[in-house]
């Protein structure tokens, strides 16, 4: 292990050991099903973390309940495997108490959008400075195969033998509606894109929300194959890049343009004129939300950073209020105890 000096998130010019992926691998045996998409996410997270140059012990992973929520056990960091749907509440409390920590929340489509949906909205609304990674496999895996809030309408599962009659939720649109300042989507099988996306999320100040399409080999195998399979990926997915026109296809020959509020596919668009240029820094989240609605087969599925804007974080504002109050008021507990009307009994 070597060391390097760098500006740490704690603000101290301390010597931070240069860590490697291995340093983030815990001694616990990984118990996901062979072939589960979670392995890829774990690997990319462990690979990405050393790049952050954050002191090892300042990193905390918090999860709820579900297959994805086993994640903290496999990370050599501080970890808290909490209860169903509530990881974000623990993260909010922890980050508010200890803003110098780097806090990651690992959740799933059931944990984060069903039982814990409310907390997701409020974490993003507050812009808590944490990174939320939602593993979306569109199924309940740990409870062995019931439909989830992101399962497609009509899906046949153990709890919906006649098909579901519920509209699925689009996680990104929920995040955008709640005012999330960083919203991205990646996929387990594109490891390079996944690592980059996690890095950008982790370095963003404010709530970062990353949806990762994750394959459940047992209960929903191939859920994303129709567009994410290597053979068809370039034709059926569009990689979002800030400032670049939306282009896809083997030779990036097709594009997306807007017709009023409605996106349209332009087959064989000769030039970029008229194509939608991605603006992740748009203060208005509406366009990002329209992109979040694009689904295969009508559209290529967008992947990448939908939104990345700067806004004051909850934690900065809380710290500032406390610091200002401390500077302004000479707090004295003795005086506080005597506040209001007092009287002497002799």
């Amino acid at each position: 292990m070597t060391t390097a000096t760098t500006g740490s998130p704690t603000g101290a010019d301390e010597v931070i050991p240069v860590l490697t992926r291995k340093d983030f691998v815990s001694d616990q045996e990984v118990r996901w099903c062979p072939g589960c998409g979670d392995y890829a996410i774990l690997a990319q997270m462990q690979k990405m973390l050393p790049e952050l140059r954050i002191p090892h012990e300042n990193i905390v992973f918090i999860s709820g309940i579900g297959c994805s929520s086993r994640f903290p056990y496999y990370m050599e960091t501080y970890g808290f495997h909490s209860i169903h749907g509530r990881a974000l509440t623990l993260a909010t409390g922890l980050k508010t108490a200890r803003p110098e920590l780097a806090v990651f929340v690992i959740t799933g489509d059931g944990d984060g959008l069903s039982i814990g949906g409310n907390h997701l909205l409020h974490a993003m609304r507050r812009n808590i400075d944490i990174t939320v990674v939602l593993f979306n496999n569109r199924i309940y895996g740990l409870t062995k195969g019931q439909y989830s809030p992101t399962s497609e309408m009509g899906k046949i599962t153990k709890s919906s033998p006649y098909g579901t009659v519920e509209q699925p939720l689009h996680p990104l649109r929920v995040a955008l509606a709640a005012g999330a300042t960083f919203v991205a989507r990646s996929i387990d099988r594109d490891t390079k894109h996944l690592e980059e996306t996690l890095y950008r999320a982790a370095t963003h100040r404010g709530t970062s929300f990353v949806e990762v399409y994750q394959n459940c080999v047992i209960f929903n195998d191939g859920a994303f194959d129709s567009f994410a399979d290597k053979e068809v990926r370039q034709e059926r997915m569009v990689y979002l890049e800030h400032g670049q026109p939306l282009r896809f296809g083997r030779g990036r020959e097709h594009g997306i343009r807007m017709n009023g509020y409605v996106p349209e596919v332009v087959r064989n668009a000769a030039d970029d004129g008229g194509l939608l240029v991605h603006n992740a820094r748009d203060a208005n989240p509406v366009l990002a939300s329209i992109l979040g609605e694009m689904e295969y087969p009508d559209f290529p599925v967008p992947i990448g950073v939908f939104r990345d804007v700067e806004a004051p974080t909850y934690n900065d504002l809380v710290e500032k209020q406390v610091a200002d109050a401390m500077a302004r008021e000479a707090a004295n507990f003795e005086d506080l105890l005597h506040s209001g009307e007092t009287w002497e009994i002799l």
């Binding site: 050599e76 623990l90 409390g93 922890l94 507990f333």
Partner: protein, 638 residues
């Protein structure tokens, strides 16, 4: 500042030990303010005081309506008093609805002062009076004094550049002035307070002071009152005093725990009646480094509190009964992960939404057992409003020492009730100790469940500590390694260890004290806000020669070590509770004592007379005791 003229016309003065007054009016009439000002004045004068404010459930019920009546009762005395009084001696009713809902509580012969101007046909109708009670003889049991408060107030404020509606709002100062005169009190405290309060609004200040003086001088001038009353100062311990409500005391106690431990306090809570004032208070303490989070719901508040405790700071949440129900799962996570935190439950009448503005102590069993699995938490309960300060500090002391969540059971009566409080000296407050985990040497792994042999507490390893990275969670852990463990022996041992921590607190809590003879015919055992009524009731019984003692539990889990012995020193044990017998169930089950439950579930505190009545029944001096519940009233009712 004006010096108030104290020149009095000759008037007979009747000396009393204790007076109980109730101010009642529409919720917009400022009765809470009037009551509070009278309370301050009497406290400064040197009386012992107990108060009970009571607000309507509706924020703004229709003006003049029965549900819109707001009341404030205070008792002031020349002796040590512990309750706001069973029956008011005087009622100030600002409108017919206030008269109707409160008159039933007034003692026969008591004084009623009404604002005659408000007894209009339309107001009488709103109060569901068929005929005017001032005319039809229904008030013959009491001394009724009819005053044109509204008109006189108007005249006093004549010429002030304020709209009529605002002038009307000064009526409460007129009433206050009158009552201050009646009980021989100076206006000085109120003048001082108002001058500061309305300093930015000179017209309103002028209006209120004019109204106050007009009321005071009216009392002096009028022939309506045959005599005035005097309640001499009480003999209380020398020192500096202030007024404090239970919720204020709870907030200050938690801050004291922060200051005496050196750990920053973070409070996460969702607004709920009657606990919200704790949030309001703590949110003012930013300059002390206190952070407050208004969470999106009760569950979130509890989850955040677990996160705060995990982060190594003073973790606090507060709620009332329905909120505690929502918190149970996340609270259980703190039990399982053995993190120190405090949950305040300012109990209210249940079940479900129940009666949010009414008091009850029916969450004892929820606090003790309302979680899945065997889930021991410590439970403490303050006995009086100011005791909330002491017990909040105690809650944190025990939580940090034993790494156990602690529930503090307050209630609406304690939370909103107030009493004079001898301000403590900061250096005399207990020092609250905590210990983060010590670093381990490289030779072995850190085990987050390696327990302290004396307390069984596990080490508090907090993120940021080098070399102590570990994983915890709601799944059962191996006591040896902290890894997930499903084996039978381990779960057995870990369950007993979690229980053992709470049991071992017994070594750390004071023995139960008895007031009265150490042996006798009857022990009256209570907990929480029934302290005043029980203690006073037993004292009165002893005065008439009965061998009755009382004892009050401030620690409900674990129970004091000497409780079993105390119980066996008396022929009978009576347990009054504002629930259907929750402590009784515990005492009977745990000590095999045939304790008699005495249960009042009326949303109102016990009265001294009720305790006395039941004592007589148990001693065979009277027949079965029955509650006398009166008509719908704001504060009393029995």
């Amino acid at each position: 500042m004006t010096t108030e003229s104290e020149v009095q016309r000759e008037r007979a003065v009747e000396k009393l030990d204790r007076v109980t007054i109730r101010f009642a009016g529409d919720s917009g009439d400022g009765m809470q303010l009037t009551g509070t000002q009278f309370t301050r004045t009497s406290a400064v004068f040197g009386n012992d005081i107990a108060t009970l404010p009571d607000f309507p459930a509706e924020i703004r019920a229709p003006t003049g309506s029965l549900p819109g009546v707001s009341g404030f009762q205070l008792s002031f005395a020349s002796t040590d008093i512990l309750t706001p009084g069973d029956q008011p001696d005087a009622l100030i009713a600002m409108n017919p609805a206030a008269l109707k809902t409160n008159i039933g509580d007034l003692r026969p012969g008591g004084l009623v002062i009404v604002d005659e101007d408000e007894f209009t046909e339309s107001n009488l109708k709103k109060a569901a009076y068929i005929s005017n009670p001032l005319e039809d003889g229904t008030l013959s049991k009491w001394q009724v004094v009819r005053i044109n408060i509204t008109r006189q107030n108007e005249l006093a404020l004549d010429g002030l550049p304020l709209p009529a509606k605002q002038k009307f709002q000064s009526r409460n100062f007129y009433a206050l002035g009158l009552v201050l005169w009646l009980y021989g009190r100076s206006m000085e405290t109120t003048v001082k307070w108002a001058t500061d309060r309305f300093r930015r609004n000179p017209d309103v200040l002028d209006a209120n002071l004019r109204a106050l003086r007009a009321g005071y001088h009216f009392g002096e001038t009028t022939e309506l009152f045959h005599h005035r009353f005097e309640v001499p100062a009480a003999e209380v311990q020398p020192g500096t005093y202030r007024h404090i409500s239970g919720n204020e005391a709870t907030a200050l106690g938690c801050l004291a725990a922060s200051i005496r431990s050196g750990l920053p306090l973070v409070y996460s809570s969702y607004p709920i009646t009657p606990a919200s004032d704790v949030l309001h208070e703590l949110s003012k303490f930013k300059a002390f480094g206190v952070k407050t989070i208004q969470a999106e719901d009760e569950i979130a508040a509890m989850g955040m509190t677990v996160g705060i405790a995990y982060g190594g700071q003073l973790a606090l949440t507060g709620t009332s009964g329905p909120g505690l129900a929502l918190k149970s799962e996340a609270l259980n996570l703190a039990v399982m992960t053995e993190l120190p935190l405090v949950v305040i439950n300012v109990q209210r009448a249940g079940p479900s939404t129940g009666m949010p503005t009414k008091t009850e102590q029916s969450d004892l069993l929820q606090a003790l057992f309302g979680r899945n699995g065997d889930s021991p938490v410590a439970v403490v309960a303050p006995a009086t409003p100011s005791d909330c300060f002491t017990m909040a500090i105690e809650a944190f002391r025990l939580a940090l020492k034993y790494m156990v969540p602690v529930i503090l059971l307050s209630d609406g009566y304690l939370g909103n009730g107030s009493e004079p409080w001898k301000v403590p000296v900061v250096d005399d407050l207990p020092v609250i100790e905590y210990h983060y985990a010590k670093p381990v040497d490289g030779s072995r792994e850190f085990n987050p469940y390696e327990r302290d042999p004396a307390t069984l507490a596990r080490p508090w390893a907090v993120p940021g500590q080098k070399g102590l990275m570990h994983r915890i969670g709601g799944i059962e852990k191996s006591g040896e390694t902290g890894d997930i463990a499903y084996d039978a022996g381990n779960h057995h041992r870990m369950t007993l260890a979690r229980l053992g921590k709470v049991e071992r607190m017994v070594q750390d809590i004071p023995a139960l004290e008895v007031q009265g003879p150490p042996e006798g015919d009857l022990l009256v055992l209570g907990w929480g806000s029934t302290y005043g009524a029980i203690t006073s009731g037993c004292a009165r019984a002893r005065k008439s020669g009965k061998r009755v003692a009382s004892a009050h539990l401030r620690y409900l889990n674990p129970l004091p070590a000497n409780l079993g012995e105390v119980l066996r020193n008396y022929g009978k044990v009576l347990i009054p509770e504002m629930n259907t017998g929750q402590l009784s169930l515990i005492i009977r089950g745990k000590y095999l004592v045939d304790a008699v439950p005495f249960n009042k579930i009326a949303g109102q505190p016990f009265k001294i007379a009720e305790i006395e009545g039941k004592i007589d029944e148990l001693l065979g001096l009277s027949g079965p005791y029955e509650f006398q519940f009166g008509p719908a009233s704001v504060l009393g009712g029995g």
